[in-house]
Structure formats: C-alpha cells, structure tokens
Amino acid sequence: MAENTIRIRAKNSGGNTKVKTLIKHAMSAKSDKNGTTSHFIQEVMCEHNGLTVFKANWSTSVSKNPYLSFQFQGGSVGDSITISWVDNSGDTDSLTTSII
C-alpha cells in the first residue's frame, strides 16, 4: 500500500464544497525493463461522510502526479472527505480529511 500519496483540500463556501486533490503517482505509459507496459491509476473514489459522491476512471493520458478538482452541493465544516485510488498494479492509498 502506497503511503502519503494524497493531498486534499476541501473547502465549503456558500453551501458548495470544493474538493481539490493532488496524488503522487507516475501515471506512466512507458514500457520499462520489467516488461510492464504501463503504471497508472484506474479509479479514484471520493466519499463525503462515508457516502460516495464522485468517482473517476483514468487512463495513462492523465498527467503524472494527477490533479483533480470537483464540487458538490452541501457538506459542512468538519464533515469527512475521503479520497482513495487503485492503480493497475493493485497498489492503493486512501486519505481522510475534514471540510474547512
């Protein structure tokens, strides 16, 4: 399990919650000497207080160290936001933070 790959900023303003996240990942489309053709995040999940609000499916065409931002209605200061990802080699990471 990868560690400390996720940074999240979730900010509530005017009834909307804006979530911005940065993930440290190679998002590689290159072949390497091990014969692995690509190494990339396939799924990113976002939960608000334990309920899925947003999901992304990615390909190798998402840039290295991906940035993702989305917005949802509702959410209040102190609510939990969890971002997790799974890549094509089965590696995964997850981080929970609070809305500010």
């Binding site: 947003f54 499916n57 993702l68």
Partner: protein, 161 residues
C-alpha cells in the same frame, strides 16, 4: 516473502468483493495478469479504443448534441503536451457522467467522471496530449449526451511519458 506481501495487499483491495476468492485464485494461478485484475469496474474495453468514433460508441453515445452550455477551459497553446490543464463546467442538470476525450491521442478516451446528484457540473484536471488536437467533453445527463470541443495546439507531444 514477496508473494505474502502481494497477498495481503490483494485482500485489502478486494475486501467486500464477493468474488475475491475466485479472483485471488486466478491471480495465483496466473490466469489473470495484474493489469486486468484490479479495479474490477475499470472499463478496459472503453479505454482501449484507438479512434474517436469507436471510443464514443463504446461509451454508449448514439447521438451527440453539440452545445455551448458546456464550457471547456484549456490553453489555446500548450507548450508541453505532458501537462495540459483542463476544466469543464456546465449548468446542465442531473449529470451522470462527464467524459474527456482527445481526438488524436493513441487512445482517445482520457478519463470518465461519475457524478452523483449532489455534484455540480464541474471537473478540473491535467491531461496528456500527443499532438495538436480537439479536446472533447461529453456530458451524459438524463440519458442524453451533450458535447462541446476545443482545439488545443501542442508544441511538444506528451503521450510517451
């Protein structure tokens, strides 16, 4: 030791999946390569299409309504195709899915975003582009498909990274 480590990792990922036993077994016996096995809901058959029309039809698009209600923010000129910032914003209600495609990339489908009812029609990310091309945003809402596109000139291609 390596096998043990992988085993634990796999268990964490598949926690809650009914088929975990079966998948785990096929992994061990080498029937499924790691590239296929994880993120079971990742739609490989949509992402592996090599031209725009195939990618669109595998997304389920039959008819595309071109609309200026979808705003695509991206640079007119991207100096390096490895990092092209893009924002898609729309007021179309009840969005189920937003897909991003780049016409001239080896695999046109870059990403799909599944939105729940609470989400606003807004996504922002950074993508790779092989060469100057259209960026196409497809918004699926209420069973219909809406689309808009924007031309981005790319100085140095960025799909090999």
């Amino acid at each position: 030791m390596e096998i043990l480590r992988v085993g634990i990792k796999r268990r964490v990922i598949l926690k809650g999946t009914i088929a975990s036993g079966a998948i785990g077994l096929s992994l061990t016996s080498g029937l499924i390569t790691p590239n296929m096995a994880f993120a079971a809901s990742w739609p490989a058959n949509v992402f592996n299409k090599t031209n725009l029309n195939d990618a669109l039809s595998s997304l389920g698009v039959r008819e595309l309504a071109i609309t200026n209600d979808i705003l695509i923010k991206a640079p007119d000129l991207a100096e390096h195709g490895a990092v092209v910032p893009i924002t898609v914003e729309t007021a179309i209600p009840a969005i189920e899915k937003i897909s991003l495609l780049v016409d001239k990339n080896p695999n046109p489908l870059v990403s799909t975003f599944e939105l729940t009812q609470k989400c606003r029609g807004y996504i922002s990310t950074r993508i790779k582009m092989k060469e100057s091309s259209n960026i196409i945003a497809v918004v699926q809402a209420g069973g219909k498909f809406y689309s808009n596109r924007k031309v981005v000139d790319v100085a140095i291609g960025g799909c090999d990274e």
